[in-house]
Every structure is written in C-alpha cells, then in structure tokens.
C-alpha cells in the first residue's frame, strides 16, 4: 500500500473514530447491563413468567375479548393500544393509554394470566434499567437523539472498515496476535488496539450496523404505516377513524387472521389509530413459521368493526431488516452463554476505544508522517518512553 493510500485511510480512520468515540463508550457502558436486562429484572422484581403454568398465551387460553374487558375494567377511561402474547407462558400483556395515538410515556402496561384470567397487576418497572435503556436509545432527546446515535453507529462502521484496511500494512512483518509488551507503551497500545479490534471485528460490525438500523426504527415504522399500510387500506382512505367504543370482537378478528395465515403464532396486536396500525384495523402481527423467519413479523389487517380481513402481506425489506436487527443487536436470543460472549466482546470494544483514545492523546503532536510510518512498518520509528 502506498504512503498516499495509507495517509488517506489513516485520516478516514482518525476522524470516523474520534467523532463517535464518546458516544460509543457511552453505548458500550450502558449496553453491558442491558445485555443482562432479563436477569436483572428477574432479580429485582421477580420473574412473572416463571410463576405461571399453562399453555402459551399465543396458542390458547381464555377468549381475547374477556381478557381485554378485564384490562379495561381495571383501567377506566383508557383505550387499548397493544395486546402482546408470550410464546413460552400464559403471560398476556395489555397496553392502555388515554387515546389511540397516546405517546409511549402515557402508556400503561398490565400483566394477565390468559389461562386463569387473573390480573397480575402493572408490569414491573425498573427505574434504573429504564434510565439506562433510554440513555442508550436516544439520550433523552427523542428522535433527534436516536438519529445522532444512528449516525455515530455508521461512523463506527466506517472506522472498523478503515481500521481493517490499515491492519494489513501494520501486520506485514508481525504474526497474528503479537503483543510487544517489553518495548514502549505506545507500541503495546498499538498492538492491543489491533489485536482486540481485529478479533472482535465481525461482532463489532454486526453490532454497529444493527444498532444504526435500530436507530432508524421510528422513521421506518412511520414509513411502513404511511406507505404500505395506507396502500393495504386504500379503500378506507378519507373515512374517519373507528372510535374505541365501536371496536368489534378481537376473537373474531383473530379467527379471520388465522384463516389468512394458518399455523402461525401471534406476537402482538396493534389497535386502531396507533403507530402500528391504521385508523380502522386491528393489526395482528404473526411470527414466521420457520426458524429462519421466526423473528420476521407478518401483519394481518382486520377491520376492527366487522372482523373481516382486509389484507395480510410481508413487511417491506427495510422493516424486515429492522426486525432481524433487534435480536442481533441485543444478543438475547441464545441463552446466557451468548450474553456472556456479548459482555466479553463489549469489554473488548471498550478496550479498543480506550487504546485508540490513548494513542491519539499521547501522540507526537502534528506529525502525521510519523503515524503513517508506524502503520507502514508495524513498529515505532524511534521508540519513546
């Protein structure tokens, strides 16, 4: 690689790393406890699902209309927003709010046992984990915060790509995994930065890309609702939204959806007027029926007044990518060992970031030729300290 090429890639790596570094450190530090949110929530508030016995609420149990009436009876004046099912236990979650288009901070979540019909009370809240999650998601800035973090994620991906390009000239004379501990602090940091970076590279790429996609979740969902859902429900255009008191039978709607998508398991229902439906439909989201598609959701739009199916079709490719991105980013789909792997690689990422910061702060100021020579030769021209 020519000196000129190294210089260009070095500058790309420098700025694509320096700009997002503080954000990435925050994301790593907050992401670490979030990986174990199931275990932390269970330890602090108890594991509700583990206490229930019976068939999964996604498969069977008491009629949905009965469950919904129970939820609304316990939350007078509210309207239903979501009903979510468990694939593992009878736990049924109903979300209510003051209006069909209620904001997330106005929503209330209630737990029910679909086998017995028992109300299990409000979903437990964990202020500490909620704080960490919101800091990690949008830094308490809403959509602008999410978009900033999404751009930082894309810069992180650029830093990884440019770092990998620079890895080649640096490692020309050095064996994989070499860490020269006995030379200078700078050389040891360079070796650590390269070794940790290249070993965790694939994981960091996946986390960076899926994190960036997740950051655009709200605009992607809005785009799906305003585009695909509007086309699916074109015949309803211009008609006023259905009022909550006119909602028809959920069970009849579920039957209609099951006939359109037989053998699939429901994950949640979006009620009319919310972000996940039209103003006239129950949007019933089903999981894929094969392992490869189990994280992909297919909505069936059922007229909330008549329980007649309007349409059922796969979501657009970008929304499907978003659905696959969530588990890949969170690492919560393969049991505790996978979470431990996530934790170790998050610590490795922190180390890559930290050694990168030290390499930057403790450089010889203003001498880019020296940086290029380090990369080109894989060592420090005149070792110091």
């Amino acid at each position: 690689m020519s000196r000129r090429a190294i210089r260009i890639w070095y500058l790309i790596h420098k700025w694509s790393s320096l700009i997002p570094t503080v954000f990435l450190l925050m994301l790593c530090v907050t992401g670490l406890p979030l990986v174990f949110h199931d275990e932390i929530d269970a330890a602090m508030a108890g594991d509700t699902e583990a206490t229930l016995s019976g068939p999964p609420s996604a498969d069977s149990g008491l009629p949905l209309d009965i469950m919904l009436n129970k939820a609304l009876a316990g939350s007078p004046g509210s309207v239903p927003l979501f009903m979510a099912f468990s694939q593992d236990s009878p736990l049924l979650t109903v979300t209510t709010g003051p209006s069909p288009d209620a904001a997330p901070d106005q929503m209330d979540l209630f737990f029910f046992d679909r086998t017995t019909g028992a109300s299990l009370g409000p979903a437990p809240v964990n202020p500490v984990m909620d704080f960490i999650l919101q800091l990690h998601t949008d830094m308490f800035l809403g959509l602008p915060g999410m978009l900033v973090l999404g751009i930082m994620g894309l810069l992180f991906v650029l830093a990884l790509v440019s770092g990998t390009v620079l890895y080649a000239p640096f490692m020309r004379k050095i064996a994989f995994g070499t860490i020269r501990r006995n030379r200078s602090d700078r050389l040891r940091r360079l070796d650590h930065h390269n070794f940790f970076g290249i070993v965790a590279l694939a994981w960091m790429l996946v986390i960076g890309l899926t994190g960036a996609i997740n950051a655009f979740a709200d605009p992607l969902t809005d785009s799906w609702r305003d585009g695909e859902v509007a086309r699916m429900t074109a015949s309803y255009a211009g008609t006023p939204s259905i009022a909550p008191q006119d909602y028809g039978s959920l069970d009849a709607a579920m039957d209609a959806a099951n006939r359109a998508l037989p053998g699939r398991s429901p994950q949640f229902i979006g009620f009319p007027g919310g972000d996940w439906s039209s103003g006239h439909h129950y949007a019933i989201f089903f999981q894929g029926d094969r392992p490869l598609t189990q994280h992909l959701l297919t909505p069936a739009l059922v007229d909330a007044a008549t329980a007649e199916l309007t349409d059922a079709r796969n979501m657009p490719a970008l929304n499907q990518a978003l659905m696959m991105s969530k588990p890949l980013h969170f690492g919560d789909y393969g049991g505790l060992p996978l979470k431990l792997i996530w934790a170790v690689l998050t610590l490795a990422t922190i180390w890559v970031l930290w050694t990168g910061i030290l390499l930057w702060f403790k450089r010889t100021p203003g001498n880019i030729e020296r940086r290029i020579e380090e990369i080109r030769t894989g060592t420090i021209p005149q070792a110091s300290s």
Binding site: Y167, A168, M171, R172, K173, I174, F176, G177, T178, I179, R180, R181, N182, R183, F195, F196, I198, V199, A200, L201, A202, W203, V206, P291, L292, Q294, H295, M324, P327, L328, Y333, G334, G335, P337, L338, I341, V344, L345, A348, G378, T379
Partner: protein, 65 residues
C-alpha cells in the same frame, strides 16, 4: 526484514476464520434453539477465547520489529 513480509491472504487468514465463525454462530443462534444454540456458543465463542489466549500468552522475547 523484507523476506518476512506477509501477503494480505496470510495477514487476514486467522481474522477471517474468527469472523466467519462469529457470523455462523450468530445466525445459528438466531435460527433455532437447543443444539443450534450450543453450536452458536461454540462458533461465536472463538473470538473471546482468542482474546483470552492472546492476553494469557507469555510475552515474546524482544525482537527487532
């Protein structure tokens, strides 16, 4: 040192192996449970094990690099 320069294919051989194992592991875990999860841990676990091995390995002797 000119004679000891390595080609990009040699430089990236091990990283490519670790990265491919990681991606296989992530997809295996995502597409099933039970045995697939166990395979996912094995494949995705190669990267953390490599880091551990690299850190615990004895420091090489001083060289001219």
């Amino acid at each position: 040192m000119k004679g000891s320069r390595r080609r990009p294919s040699a430089i990236f051989a091990v990283p490519l192996l670790i990265g491919t194992a990681m991606l296989i592991g992530l997809v295996l875990g995502l597409t099933g449970n039970g045995p697939r999860d166990a395979l996912a841990w094995g494949f995705a676990g190669l990267a953390p094990l490599t880091l551990l091995f690299g850190l615990l390995r004895r420091a090489p002797r001083r060289s001219s690099n």
